[in-house]
Symmetry: C2
Subunit: 119 residues, 2 copies
């Protein structure tokens, strides 16, 4: 179930390297990764779960409402994260020149299905 949705997001986004459904505790529920050299996508997702906790805390302090989406672009990689309630999130990693808009759209589109399946 989760794996199919993750695969559809990765396959539908040009430049995508993989997607992972994860808890804020850094434990993955499911993932779909393309083979890619020199990039450890599992590690990336775990490390970003810490970043998300920091952002969530910041949003709470600032009273700007719940965090919904975070994206980070580095020299080698783009990561888009969409929150799925208070316990889980989905992260999509892509090449830095991948189709950011399409990836973002697919995460928005699939989020309700993932939330429903997680409940």
């Amino acid at each position: 179930m989760f794996g199919e949705i993750l695969q559809s997001i990765v396959d539908g986004t040009s430049g995508a390297l993989g997607a992972v459904l994860m808890g804020y505790d850094g434990i993955a529920i499911d993932q779909h990764f393309k083979v890619c050299e020199g990039v450890d996508l599992s590690l990336i997702a775990v490390e970003y779960s810490n970043v998300l906790k920091e952002i969530r805390r910041t949003a709470e302090i600032l009273g700007t409402g719940a965090m919904e989406e975070v994206s980070v672009k580095t020299e080698r990689l783009m990561v888009i994260i969409r929150t799925l309630g208070s316990e889980y999130f989905i992260a999509l990693a892509m090449e830095r020149n991948g189709n950011f808009g399409k990836g973002r759209y697919l995460l928005v589109r699939e989020a309700p299905r993932l939330r429903e399946a997680l409940a």
Copy 2:
């Protein structure tokens, strides 16, 4: 100089609330804010400087290259941040339905001028 560039970014982005040029130490160099109730943009920028440090540290651990851009969407606000070398960044805050693409484009376009002026 900085003020004019910041204003041009805010004025050019529909839904923008303000922009700030800031060091990672949370000290603002210059800022241009529209009057907006219930949102303390200075505080938001200071709090996000901590988030950026965490993301920078994460990118270093992961070896995914230097952080270039971070965006965070919450229920009430969208913040786009663009790094300007290792010491400074520019943050643009906008309403959650503001023109994300245009804001992002203007940050990319003005980053070289800001870097030059900061050097």
